[in-house]
C-alpha cells in the first residue's frame, strides 16, 4: 500500500484499484467470520482454490473471503457474482458441482439454494430471501464485498472518502452533521452522539482521547464482533472522523480477548491505515494527527461500562468509578475522552459521506438510522438483522425471523441482554426505538434479542440473567454484589417451590433498591429482567409461589415425568435410561415412574421411541391439591 499524502493521492489510488478490477469480474464470495469458520468455511475456501487451480481458472475467477453475511443458519454460505446466486450450507464436496454448474456453466444448483420456508420456493438471490428482504442493511451490506484483511477492498467502495470530506471541513461542521443526522449512541443508552462529542470538544485540555468500545459481553449478542471482523476499516474511518471532530490525538479500540478474529482484523486494519497515511502524523496532508491502539479486554462483563473500561485500559482492575466526572470531562489518563460503541463509529462515515438529510430520512423522528440486532432464540431464522429504528417487534419475529420454531406459540422477547427486560406477546406491535422500549420496561441495549416460546419459564429466565449479573458484578458496591445474589437466591427458591409470598415482596423491594442505589449501570440495570417479568408475567410468579407450579413446566423441582399407559409400548428403554432407578415395570407390562423418586432429568423422555412418545411432564403439585 502506497502512502497517500493528499486526498488527491487517495483518489488516484482508488482509481488504480478499480481499474485493475475488470468489470463483470466473476467472484466467489465466501462468508468466513468467526461463525463461518466454526461452520467449516476454511475447508470450503481451500477446496475452491484447489478446484479452480485444477481447472486453470484461478486467474479468471477470484475467491473473496469476507466476514459474516448475517444469516447464521446458512453458514458457510457462498455467493457467486455477478449473478448473485446464493448457496447455503456449502460443504467441500459440493464445490466441484458449483464450479461445473455455476462458475463454468452459468446455471444455478437448485439443491443448494435457500428455500422460502413459507412458500417452499427456492430463492436464487439473497434479496429474494424473506430474512434479507425486510432489512435495511446500510452497515452490513458492505460485508459482502469486503475482504476485511484488505484495505483495497474498502477503498474500492469509496472507503475513507468520508474522511477526506470531513478533513476539508471544520470539526464543528462534522459535529453539526452528526447532530442533524440525529445519531444516538448504539451502545445501549441512546445518548445523542453529537452532544457527547461537543462536551468533550469544549474541554480545555491538550490531550483528548477516543475509545471504541468493542467489549461486547451480552449473552447471545454479536453485532459488534461482526462489524469489527467484517469491516474494521469502516470503524476506523469513523474513529478518525470523530477524533478530528473532537480534537483527539489518540484512539483505542478496546476489544474482547475472546474475539480473536476481531482483534486480528482490527490490528491488521490499523497497521494498513497507518501505512496508507490515514493514521499517524498529518493525515492526508492536513495538520491533523491521530493514531489508534488496539487493546484486548481480559474478559470481565463490567469492563463494557465506560469508567471500568477506562480503568481496564489504564491497567487497573476493571471496576467503575462514580460519575460525575463523566469521561468526556475526565476519562482515560484523566483526559477528556469520548467512548462510543463499534456500531456508532461505523455509522459516522455513512453520515458524513451521504449527508445528514439522507440519514435522517431513515427510522422515525428522534430515532434515526438503522440498528443491528442479533436475533436468536426460538425463531425459525436466526441471524444478524439490520433494520431502521422504529421497526416493530412483530416484523422482527414474524417476517424476518420467520415465526416461532416448530409452530409453537410466541411467549416473550428479551432485549438488551442482562440489563434489559422481557416483553410479552401483547407488546409485539411495539416499535423498536429507545423511548418505546424504555416505557415498556426494557432497553435497546446493544441489540441482543432473544425470542422465547411457550416452553420458556419466565422465572427461570429471570434467574438465568440474575446469575449472570451476580457472577459478573465487580463486587465494589453492596447493592449489586449482595443484592443480585440475594435476588438470585429468592428466584431459585421460587423455581424450587420453597418461596413464600413474603419472598416475592422482598424480591420486588430488593429489585427497586438495587436499581436505585447501585454504583454503575451494571447494578442499576441488573434488576430489569426481574422487574420486567414481574410486570408482564406476574401470574407466572404467582403460580410458582402460591401453587408451586411452573406453567411452562421447566422448573425441575416442580414437575415430574409420567408415562401414559395407553401409549407405552413396554420396551423398557426409559427404565434403562433412568439414572435414578425411578421407572419399573407395572401391571400389564407397562412401565411406571415413581414420582417421589423422579429427578425430572428428562432422560426417559429422550429415550422413549418416537413412535410411542408416551412420556410427558406433569405438575408435581397439581393445582387442586396444593400444599
Amino acid at each position: 500500500m502506497k502512502k497517500s499524502t493528499t486526498p488527491v493521492d487517495l483518489r488516484a489510488q482508488r482509481r488504480e484499484i478499480l481499474d485493475s478490477r475488470a468489470a463483470g469480474e466473476r467472484l466467489i464470495i465466501i462468508s468466513s467470520g468467526t461463525c463461518g469458520q466454526a461452520s467449516g468455511s476454511q475447508a470450503v475456501i481451500d477446496r475452491f482454490n484447489e478446484e479452480l487451480e485444477k481447472r486453470g481458472l484461478q486467474r479468471s475467477v477470484a475467491v473473496k473471503i469476507t466476514g459474516c453475511h448475517g444469516l447464521c443458519e446458512c453458514e458457510p454460505d457462498v455467493l457467486i457474482w455477478p449473478e448473485g446466486l446464493y448457496y447455503r450450507n456449502v460443504e467441500p464436496t459440493q464445490v466441484p458441482l458449483i464450479i461445473e454448474e455455476t462458475v463454468i456453466g452459468g446455471r444455478a444448483v437448485e439443491s443448494l439454494l435457500y428455500k422460502d420456508p413459507a412458500t417452499g420456493l427456492p430463492c436464487k438471490q439473497p434479496w429474494d430471501i424473506p430474512f434479507y428482504r425486510k432489512q435495511k442493511r446500510l452497515l452490513t451490506e458492505k460485508n459482502l464485498f469486503l475482504d476485511p484483511e484488505k484495505i483495497d477492498d474498502y477503498l474500492a467502495i469509496d472507503g475513507y472518502e468520508a474522511l477526506t470530506k470531513a478533513l476539508s471541513r471544520t470539526p464543528e461542521w462534522v459535529i453539526g452533521e452528526v447532530g442533524k443526522a440525529g445519531l444516538r449512541g448504539r451502545g445501549g443508552a441512546g445518548f445523542p452522539t453529537d452532544v457527547k462529542w461537543r462536551m468533550c470538544r469544549s474541554q480545555a485540555s491538550g490531550a483528548k482521547y477516543i475509545i471504541c468500545n468493542a467489549d461486547e459481553g451480552d449473552p447471545g449478542a454479536y453485532m459488534d464482533r461482526n462489524l469489527l471482523e467484517a469491516n474494521p476499516h469502516g470503524v476506523i474511518e469513523g474513529m478518525i472522523i470523530g477524533a478530528y471532530a473532537i480534537g483527539a490525538c489518540k484512539g483505542v479500540i478496546f476489544v474482547r480477548h475472546e474475539y480473536p478474529l476481531a482483534v486480528r482484523h482490527a490490528l491488521n486494519a490499523v497497521e494498513q491505515a497507518r501505512e496508507a497515511g490515514l493514521l499517524g502524523n498529518n493525515i492526508l496532508g492536513s495538520d491533523f494527527s491521530f493514531d489508534i491502539d488496539v487493546i484486548e479486554g481480559s474478559g470481565a462483563f463490567v469492563s463494557g461500562e465506560e469508567t471500568a473500561l477506562i480503568a481496564s485500559i489504564e491497567g487497573r482492575r476493571g471496576q467503575p468509578t462514580p460519575k460525575p466526572p463523566y469521561p468526556a470531562e475526565r476519562g482515560l489518563y484523566g483526559k477528556p475522552t469520548v467512548i462510543n460503541n463499534v456500531e456508532t463509529w461505523a455509522n459516522i462515515p455513512l453520515i458524513i459521506l451521504r449527508g445528514w438529510e439522507w440519514f435522517s430520512a431513515i427510522g422515525k423522528p428522534g430515532n434515526r438510522g438503522t440498528k443491528i440486532f442479533s436475533l436468536v432464540g426460538k425463531v425459525n431464522i436466526t441471524g444478524l438483522v439490520e433494520v431502521p429504528l422504529g421497526t416493530t417487534l412483530r416484523e422482527m419475529v414474524e417476517d424476518i425471523g420467520g415465526g416461532i420454531k416448530g409452530g409453537k406459540k410466541f411467549k416473550a422477547v428479551q432485549t438488551g441482554g442482562p440489563s434489559g427486560g422481557c416483553l410479552p406477546a401483547e407488546k409485539l406491535d411495539l416499535p423498536l426505538d429507545y423511548e418505546s422500549l424504555a416505557a415498556a420496561g426494557t432497553i435497546m441495549g446493544s441489540g441482543g434479542m432473544i425470542v422465547m416460546d411457550e416452553e420458556t419459564c419466565m422465572v427461570d429466565i429471570a434467574l438465568y440473567f440474575l446469575r449472570f449479573t451476580e457472577s459478573e458484578s465487580c463486587g465494589q458496591c453492596a447493592p449489586c454484589r449482595v443484592g443480585t445474589r440475594r435476588m438470585a437466591e429468592i428466584l431459585k427458591s421460587m423455581t424450587s417451590g420453597t418461596a413464600t409470598p413474603a419472598d416475592l415482596e422482598e424480591l420486588e423491594t430488593l429489585a427497586q433498591t438495587v436499581k436505585e442505589t447501585s454504583l454503575c449501570g451494571l447494578g442499576r440495570s441488573a434488576p430489569n429482567p426481574v422487574l420486567s417479568t414481574l410486570r408482564w408475567f406476574r401470574d407466572e410468579y404467582m403460580a410458582h409461589v402460591i401453587d408451586k407450579r411452573c406453567p411452562a413446566r421447566v422448573c425441575r423441582d416442580l414437575i415430574y415425568y409420567w408415562i401414559d399407559p395407553k401409549k407405552c409400548l413396554g420396551c423398557g428403554l426409559c427404565s434403562r435410561a433412568c439414572p435414578a432407578g425411578a421407572i419399573s415395570k407395572g401391571d400389564g407390562g407397562k412401565f411406571e415412574i415413581d414420582p417421589a423418586a423422579c429427578k425430572s432429568c428428562g432422560a426417559c423422555s429422550s429415550a422413549c421411541p418416537g413412535k410411542a412418545k408416551a412420556i410427558s411432564k406433569r405438575d408435581r403439585f397439581p393445582k387442586d391439591t396444593g400444599i
Binding site: 463486587g475 453492596a478 447493592p479 443484592g483 454504583l519
Partner: protein
C-alpha cells in the same frame, strides 16, 4: 460557595464534595467508605443524597458540591434505601451482636481480651468498640428480620508478622486498597475475584510480606471493621490513656498516639500531625511498643561484681561509677552519646562530658552526620547552607531526585510526599541501585553501582550543559536530564549513606551542582531522630567544646588511650576493646552494655519530656506519655545525679534548658517560596572533584560484593537483629543478584549460594533482582553479634560465587 443542605443555607470554601460540605456545616451523612485523603470510591452507598433538579440518588462522597445546589440527605426514601443497603452489607458480615437487643449491656465486655480466632459477633471481634459498621447500625438502624446470611467462612490470614486479616469481617469498602496504593505507593492489597467471590487480597494469593508489604499499618488504621487488625490487640486490655509523642526511630519525626493501660503501652497509632498526617511505618506503628519491655529492657541499675553484672540500688551504682571516674581521672576518658534521644538529654551528655569528665573526647554516634558533612562541604566552598526545605516542598515538585539507598523504608514520610508528588505528575529520579516504584507515577532509575552514583549525576549535568559532547553518557541520565530541562520546581533529596565512602565527596559535589544548575531545592535527610537537633544545638551554641568524629574515639580506645568510657549507646565499633572501666547508660541491652562495669537503665524518649528536630528542621516537643519502666530514669536525670555526686554545683539542673538561639528559620512554611535557599545569593556551583570511585572487578573474582548494614537502629542497637519480623520485612539475610547473572549460573530464588572472596567463604540465600546492575551482589546481613564479625570489612569486595551444594 453557597448551597443548601437539608434546608440550611451553608457557605463553604474550596471545591468540596457534598459530604465534605455537609460535615463542615455539622450535618453528618452516614458513610463507610469515604476517608479524608483517599480518592472517592462510592462503594458503600450509604451516603446517597438527593439533589434538587436531578433524577435519582447520588453518593455525596463522590459528587462535587456546586453553587446554589439544594441537597437533601434524609428524606424518607433515602432513610429507607439506606436501611436496605446496610442490610445488604450486613449479609456478608457476622451481625448477630449488631441486632441483638442486649447489645448495650455487652458493651463493657467488648473491651476485654479476646482469645478466639473465629469472630461470630462483636463479642469476639478484635475491633472492640472501635467499629464504624456498628456505629452505622446505631445511626441508621436496621430491621433484623430481612438480613440474608452470606457469611464467607474463610480462614483468618496470619501471614504478616503484625497484621491479621479476617476476610469474613470485610465489607469491601476498599479503604485499605486505596491507602495502600494511593497514599503509600505500595499497591500490595487489591480487589480480587468477581461477584460474591470478591475479596480484598494480595495478587496471586501470596502472603503479605511476599507481596512487598512493609507492615506500615496504614490499612489497619483505615479499616472500619475488625477485618484488618494489629495482631496483638486482641490479647491486650483496652487502653485508657493516650499521650502524643514523637517517634524516636527515624529522622522524620512522626507524631504518635501512645495508648496505654496501667503504665504499659498497648497500641501506638499515628496522629494527624503536619509531618505524618495519620501515617506511620512499621517501626513507629508496631515496634515502638515492643521496645518498651521484654527481656532486652533494662529495669534496674547494675554493677559488675566478681565478673557478673548484679542489680543494685541507684545510689550504689552512682557510688561505683563516681569512684571509677575519680580513680581513672588521669588515664583519659571519653563519652559517646546517641542522636536519637531528646535535645535535653543530648545536652546533658555533652555538658557532663565537658564539665564533669573534663574530656575533649566527646562524639555523637553515628557521626559525622549528613548535616556536618553538607555544612562542612559548604563552608569549604565559602557558603553557608540554610537547610530550609520542608517536607511539603516535595509535594510541589515537578521532579524529585532521590539520593538514598532506601528512602521508602528509612524516610517513610519523605516517601509519602514523593508518592503524592508522583500522583500529581512528578517524575521520580532514583540514583540508588534499588528500584523504588510507587504504585502510580513515573520513575527513572539510575541503577548505578553503589558508590558510583556521581556517574549518573555528572552525566545529567553534562547533558544539561552540553558538556562532554561525543562521550557515551548513562542512558537513564539522558532521560532524566530531559525531565530536569523541562523546568518546573525540582527537589534533590540526599541522605548520609550517599556521602560516606570513598566517593562521598564527589557524590555530594555532583548533587549540589545539579541542584544549583536546575534551581532545585536541596534537602539533606538525617539518619537518626535528632541528628539535625544535635547540629542545630551545636550551631546555637549548646556544647562548650566541639564534638570529635566517632572514629577518633574508636582509635583512642583501640590505642589504649581511654581509661574510662561513658557510653549512651552502642557505638558499633568493629573491633571493640573494652577500656579499663565502661559505663553504659542505655534502655535496652546491647553488646556494649553486656560488657560494661556499670549499667544505668535509661528511660525511653516517650517516658520523659523532650525536644526533637526532624530532617526538615521542625522543632517538636515530645511530652512524657507514661512513667519510666521499673527504675529507669531519663538520661539527663541520671547524668545530673552522677554529676551531683562528683562535683556538686548549682547549675547542673540547668542542663535541661535549651539555648535561646535554638529557633529555626521557617522560610518555606512562612513565605511559601519554593527553593528559596538555592536561589539565594552566595550559593554557587563548586569545582567537581575527580577522585576515583571504588575498584571494579578483579581477575578470577567476577562479582563485586557490597555489604549493606541494617539502618534500623535505636541507640546503636540493630532493631532487625532483635526483631526477626523486621529483618523479614527488610529482606535481610539474603544476597541480591542480577537476574541475568543468576540465570547464567543456574541460581534461582531461594537457592543458597557460596560467596568466595579472597578469604573465608560465606553462604547466603540468593534473591534474583531485575533492577540490580550485572556483576553486583548486595548482601544485607541479618545477623548481628558474632556472625556479623565474620563479614568482610571492606566494601566492595571482589568475589566469585556458585550455587551451594
Amino acid at each position: 460557595m453557597r448551597l443548601n443542605i437539608d434546608g440550611r443555607d451553608i457557605e463553604v470554601g474550596g471545591t468540596p464534595t457534598i459530604l465534605a460540605a455537609a460535615r463542615q456545616a455539622g450535618i453528618d451523612i452516614p458513610s463507610l467508605c469515604s476517608h479524608e485523603g483517599l480518592e472517592p470510591f462510592g462503594g458503600c452507598r450509604l451516603c446517597l443524597v438527593e439533589i434538587e433538579g436531578r433524577k435519582g440518588c447520588f453518593p455525596s462522597c463522590a459528587t462535587p458540591a456546586l453553587e446554589k445546589m439544594v441537597v437533601r440527605t434524609s428524606t424518607p426514601k433515602l432513610v429507607s434505601l439506606r436501611k436496605r443497603v446496610l442490610t445488604l452489607i450486613l449479609a456478608e458480615h457476622p451481625c448477630a451482636c449488631l441486632v441483638c437487643g442486649e447489645r448495650k449491656t455487652c458493651e463493657v465486655l467488648k473491651q476485654t481480651q479476646k482469645k478466639s480466632e473465629d469472630v461470630t459477633g462483636c463479642q469476639h471481634c478484635p475491633a472492640k468498640s472501635d467499629c464504624r459498621l456498628a456505629q452505622m447500625v446505631e445511626i441508621i438502624g436496621i430491621d433484623p428480620k430481612h438480613i440474608p446470611s452470606h457469611y464467607r467462612g474463610l480462614p483468618v490470614r496470619r501471614d504478616s508478622p503484625f497484621i491479621d486479616r479476617d476476610p469474613n469481617l470485610c465489607i469491601l469498602c476498599g479503604k485499605c486498597v486505596r491507602v495502600c496504593s494511593g497514599v503509600r505507593g505500595s499497591g500490595v492489597l487489591s480487589f480480587v475475584g468477581r461477584g460474591s467471590g470478591t475479596m480484598i487480597d494480595t495478587s496471586f494469593d501470596r502472603s503479605l510480606p511476599e507481596s512487598g508489604c512493609l507492615s506500615c499499618g496504614a490499612c489497619v488504621d483505615v479499616c472500619p471493621t475488625g477485618a484488618l487488625t494489629e495482631r496483638t490487640v486482641r490479647y491486650l486490655p483496652h487502653p485508657k490513656r493516650t499521650g502524643l509523642v514523637i517517634c524516636p526511630l527515624c529522622p522524620d519525626g512522626c507524631s504518635m498516639e501512645l495508648m496505654s493501660q496501667a503504665g504499659q503501652p498497648v497500641v501506638v497509632k499515628p496522629a494527624a500531625s503536619p509531618v505524618n498526617s495519620g501515617q506511620a511505618c512499621v517501626k513507629g506503628r508496631f515496634l515502638l511498643r515492643e521496645l518498651h519491655d521484654g527481656q532486652a529492657r533494662i529495669g534496674r541499675p547494675m554493677v559488675r561484681r566478681n565478673g557478673e553484672l548484679t542489680e543494685v540500688s541507684w545510689d550504689e551504682a552512682f557510688e561505683t561509677a563516681a569512684g571509677a571516674i575519680r580513680r581513672l581521672a588521669g588515664q583519659g576518658s571519653a563519652c559517646i552519646l546517641p542522636t536519637d534521644i531528646s535535645l535535653e538529654d543530648m545536652q546533658g551528655f555533652i555538658r557532663f562530658a565537658g564539665d564533669v569528665l573534663r574530656t575533649g573526647l566527646v562524639a555523637a554516634s553515628p557521626s559525622p552526620s549528613i548535616w556536618d558533612r553538607t555544612a562542612g562541604f559548604a563552608s569549604e566552598n565559602g557558603m553557608r547552607l540554610p537547610f530550609d526545605q520542608r517536607l511539603e516542598d516535595i509535594d510541589k515538585a515537578a521532579w524529585v531526585l532521590v539520593l538514598s539507598a532506601d528512602v521508602r523504608a528509612m524516610h517513610p514520610m519523605v516517601w509519602l510526599r514523593m508518592v503524592a508528588a508522583a500522583r500529581q505528575g512528578a517524575t521520580l529520579i532514583l540514583a540508588g541501585r534499588r528500584a523504588l516504584r510507587p504504585h502510580t507515577g513515573r520513575t527513572i532509575e539510575g541503577r548505578v553501582v553503589p558508590g558510583r552514583e556521581y556517574v549518573f549525576l555528572e552525566d545529567m549535568t553534562a547533558v544539561l550543559t552540553s558538556d562532554k559532547p561525543g562521550t557515551a553518557l548513562h542512558p537513564q541520565a539522558i532521560a532524566a536530564a530531559g525531565i530536569l530541562a523541562g523546568g518546573g520546581p525540582g527537589m534533590v533529596l540526599i541522605d548520609a549513606g550517599f556521602v560516606t565512602g570513598p566517593a562521598g565527596e564527589r557524590n555530594l559535589a555532583a548533587a549540589w551542582n545539579l541542584a544549583r544548575l536546575t534551581g532545585a531545592g536541596f534537602m539533606p535527610l538525617g539518619a537518626t531522630a535528632n541528628d539535625r537537633g544535635l547540629f542545630e544545638l551545636t550551631a546555637a551554641g549548646g556544647p562548650s567544646s566541639p564534638l570529635v568524629p566517632l572514629k577518633t574515639i574508636d582509635k583512642a580506645v583501640s590505642d589504649g588511650k581511654v581509661g574510662l568510657l561513658y557510653l549512651g549507646c552502642d557505638p558499633g565499633f568493629r573491633d571493640f576493646r573494652k577500656p579499663e572501666f565502661l559505663i553504659c547508660q542505655v534502655p535496652r541491652w546491647t553488646r556494649a552494655a553486656e560488657a560494661a562495669d556499670v549499667v544505668f537503665p535509661a528511660a525511653m524518649p516517650y517516658e520523659a519530656d523532650g525536644t526533637f528536630i526532624n530532617s526538615e528542621g521542625r522543632i517538636q516537643k515530645s511530652p512524657a506519655a507514661i512513667h519510666p519502666h521499673k527504675e529507669a530514669r531519663p538520661d539527663r536525670k541520671i547524668l545530673e545525679a552522677l554529676a551531683e555526686k562528683l562535683s556538686p554545683r548549682p547549675d547542673h539542673n540547668a542542663w535541661e534548658r535549651l539555648p535561646e538561639g535554638l529557633t529555626l528559620p521557617d522560610k518555606a512554611g512562612e513565605t511559601g517560596t519554593f527553593v528559596a535557599s538555592v536561589r539565594e545569593s552566595g550559593l554557587k556551583s563548586v569545582p567537581q572533584p575527580t577522585a576515583p570511585g571504588p575498584s571494579t572487578s578483579v581477575p578470577g573474582f567476577p562479582f563485586l560484593l557490597y555489604v549493606e548494614a541494617s539502618e534500623d537502629r535505636f541507640r546503636g542497637a540493630d532493631l532487625s537483629a532483635e526483631f526477626k519480623a523486621l529483618a523479614g520485612i527488610r529482606g535481610l539475610g539474603k544476597v541480591l543478584i542480577n537476574r541475568d547473572d543468576a540465570v547464567a549460573l543456574d541460581i534461582s530464588k531461594g537457592d543458597m549460594i557460596e560467596i568466595s572472596p579472597d578469604g573465608p567463604v560465606m553462604i547466603a540465600e540468593a534473591c534474583p533482582d531485575i533492577d540490580l546492575p550485572p556483576g553486583l551482589l548486595i548482601l544485607r546481613p541479618a545477623v548481628a553479634g558474632e556472625a556479623a564479625g565474620r563479614l568482610p570489612a571492606c566494601s566492595p569486595l571482589p568475589v566469585k560465587i556458585r550455587r551451594a551444594a
